[in-house]
Subunit: 497 residues, 2 copies
């Protein structure tokens, strides 16, 4: 058998096993009876071990080495497969099993302590474990290897090829522009924006589910190849080429479900439109967290908070939730969902301030990892930066340095992918608007298939064929650039209706 | 490491992998979007291969051989583990991989042909494939090995240790008594029993779900360690020690959901009450199909069609489905759900005629397998026997020899477990009534925990610790016997209300 065919066989088996792991996790979040948690953890651990043994098998390493050295006649898809499998193999073999086990034990220990510390607003409770996590993350970076900055090794885990030297100028641009923009937008918003949810009758789960289903169908989510369920936190997962599921949560008094549906819908559209030829291979997924986030943010924010989109779909919302929206004018709704209001909490941030939250985390992660300051200084530095960039006073560590789960999770290097997503979304949308100068009409008429088809043609269908940087270069003709995002925000008419 | 500890490790891994397979199948029946079928089949096949390689691994064979020859200090649970694992190992190693693959291909081919043949009422369409299935089933029996009758090898797959020489006298008893009893009951039922569902307003899914949940809770099903969902055919499955799920189906005009809830509930009570010490071992399941069926039938029929049970729970049914049951007297309801009406279809049969359907299949399977007649004769023989035992004229092969999926599935040897279940249920119930002579009061008062606790104490908690025959001997003090079932039917007052 040819080496590449051997690789295909192994890749297919691993892809299937990873889909099964995804099902175990989906079921855990969505269906699992309370009593089943411990058993499920055992099942996930058994299957993860099997996957780990397979991805680190010396036989796989040899195939990859041979294919890297003296390539047979290989297609672009074959070369991409080798690239993706080699990344997985390297990531898994560079970290000794003992290190992985220890890190995973540390994280299991840290998570409940972080929950407790946040509840009690006591950073000191969490500090000793955070120090260990930082020290092990630094070791992890050393084990994985890097050329310039240890943080590069961690960034690459989430966003292939991303480096500090690429991020620094992007974030500098954002820092210079966003704080200023924020002040300008706030001054434009002179009269207070009415809270349209105040006094609104509670929304039933059933009505919210119906609207979410409808709007997912409208953007082109295929329920024949997916489903929508309820979970504590909305997410999208892939259980196979034709099984891309989304979840949402439905509260009686929050409009969050609308934007979660569009956000998860964007992730799912990406995955549902990967070319069939990549089914059951590791190319059958979005290429990176950043590119994935660009699609969720594009559908959630750029499209889903535009006036034109709601010109078309606000009547649907009014029809399905009449008691809540019948008497709210479209203009009030659009202004409300675009309200700029810098605050303490990242996940509640508006489009202008969101990336300042990420910037702060990037600066702190980078600094603490290179040893520029100690973990104990994080809360004070956090609070300083929030005052400087967002002009808000942090009232407690619970709403400050303890707010995100990521550090307790050991996920240093993850945050910047959110900003990559926002920047890439604007850059890709700019390109789309050149292709469809009447994009406003396209939105008003609900011809969303036009947008989806263009995205499929240029991005979705490729799956992980190109690296994130190659893909962006191919779509936009230039590397990632913060200008398009800043321009988008500056010119967004919905802020100043 | 001690051999027995090695075995425990392997058993635990296999148990977890089998639970994962169960999840893949549960999700397929209950959740999977239409488009996901093919991908799911691939995932099941990949994981099944891994399980097959593990259960047939020579290293496992050696451990089992060593443990069988010179036993270390072993507990009863260890010995049972060896017994159950050896059965699995033998079943899987005795059949060559090529044979298994060919049989599985044949069955995949046969299933759609059977569906088509049944639709067109053309036994001839299915015959060539059925002949191959019978010939391969005979080969399978030879490969598995047997002492007396080739059918014994197939029976043992579903009911450990069951043989033709044990079944023959049981079925002879049933044949002699049931046809006679059937005639007697029919003559007692002189005035026609009114169809209480005729003209009944359609039952909503929501109301049926609520009643099913309530009645499951009443019999002691623990929703904290399970859930109820909807599927095309009701089933129970185990995804782990604390995750035993049931399904049901809900039609607007059928009372089937009530008895499916009790039937699947019976299966689930068995599994939910296995002792915690067997969690994540192969002992953590009902010991055989027959014993499992005894529990579903006990809750569905012996308890669930008794007057006393409905004295307690009919008000609940009337409360939750008032438009349907408000004006139906309890007596009419109990008479209706116990109506004796011999017919063509096994799954619709009443308690008296049910085992005659099984008897016919047993006689035909046994005969065709030993070569007493050809597959082509099955429809004629089928029709003859239906006339003789049930006094019904078979109007078509679709309602005759083509009615069940089992032969197309290659499951020769499965049918008798249904009868084992019915007989064992009556025998076990007889024993319970000796323990609780006031059992009628127990039912009227809804003290179902009394019954469930006794069953747990005597049956459920043991899981697969004892063989089916050992277990029955232990509970009842004698082997399986058809007398208790025949007496139960003869004396059942609900038939002659």
């Amino acid at each position: 058998m040819k080496k590449i065919d051997e690789l295909h066989l192994k890749a297919r088996e691993l892809t299937d096993l990873n889909s099964i792991l995804a099902l175990l996790q989906w079921d855990q979040e969505v269906m699992l009876p309370h009593g089943g948690s411990e058993g499920r953890a055992g099942q996930i651990s058994v299957l993860s071990s099997i996957v780990h043994r397979k991805i680190t098998a010396p036989a796989l390493g040899e195939i990859l080495a041979e294919l890297s050295e003296k390539p047979e006649e290989l297609s672009a898809a074959d070369l991409a497969l080798i690239r993706v499998m080699k990344r997985e193999y390297d990531k898994n073999t560079k970290l000794p099993e003992k290190f992985v086990a220890e890190f995973s034990r540390l994280v299991s220990q840290a998570l409940p302590v972080w929950v407790e510390a946040r509840k009690k607003n006591g950073f000191g409770l969490f500090l000793p474990l955070l120090e260990k996590i930082i020290s092990m993350s630094r070791q992890k970076a050393d084990l994985l290897g890097y050329e310039e900055h240890p943080y590069d090794a961690l960034l690459d885990l989430y966003e292939e090829g991303l480096t500090v030297s690429e991020l620094d100028p992007l974030f500098t641009d954002l820092k210079d522009n966003l704080s200023q923009l924020l002040r300008r937008k706030l001054s434009q918003q002179q009269k207070p924006i009415p809270d349209i949810t105040a006094g609104m009758p509670p929304m039933s789960v059933r009505d919210q589910v119906r609207f979410s289903e409808k709007i997912l169908q409208e953007i082109g989510y295929d329920f024949n190849r997916g489903r929508q369920d309820i979970s504590a936190h909305p997410f999208t997962t892939s259980l196979g080429h034709n099984d891309r599921r989304v979840t949402n949560r439905f509260r009686p008094d929050s409009l969050e479900f609308i934007f979660s549906a569009l956000h998860e819908g964007g992730h799912a559209l990406y995955e549902q439109n990967i070319a069939g030829e990549y089914a059951e291979t590791p190319l059958d997924e979005g290429v990176s967290l950043g590119i994935h986030e660009s699609q969720s943010r594009l559908w959630e924010n750029i499209i889903g908070r535009s006036y034109q989109f709601w010109e078309k779909y606000y009547p649907l919302l009014q029809e399905l939730l009449p008691d809540q929206f019948r008497d709210v004018p479209l203009d009030d709704f659009v202004v409300y969902i675009n309200k700029v209001h810098p605050g303490l909490i990242r996940v509640e941030a508006d489009e202008v301030s969101y990336n300042l939250h990420v910037l702060i985390r990037f600066e702190l992660e980078k600094g603490v990892l290179e040893g520029a300051f100690a973990a104990a200084s994080l809360p004070a530095l956090w609070n300083e930066k929030y005052k400087e960039y967002l002009d808000v006073d942090v009232d407690s560590d619970a709403n400050g340095a303890l707010q995100d789960i990521h550090w307790a999770h050991g996920s240093f290097g993850y945050f910047p992918t959110y900003t990559i997503g926002n920047l890439a979304a604007a850059q890709i949308w700019h390109k789309y608007c050149l292709f469809d100068p009447d994009y406003r009409q396209t939105l008003v008429q609900g011809k969303l298939d036009r947008i989806r088809n263009w995205l499929t043609e240029n991005i979705y269908r490729y799956g992980a064929l190109y690296t994130p940087a190659e893909l962006l270069e191919k779509v936009c003709g230039e590397p990632l650039n913060s200008m398009f995002f800043i321009e988008y925000l500056k010119n967004k008419p919905e802020f100043s209706l």
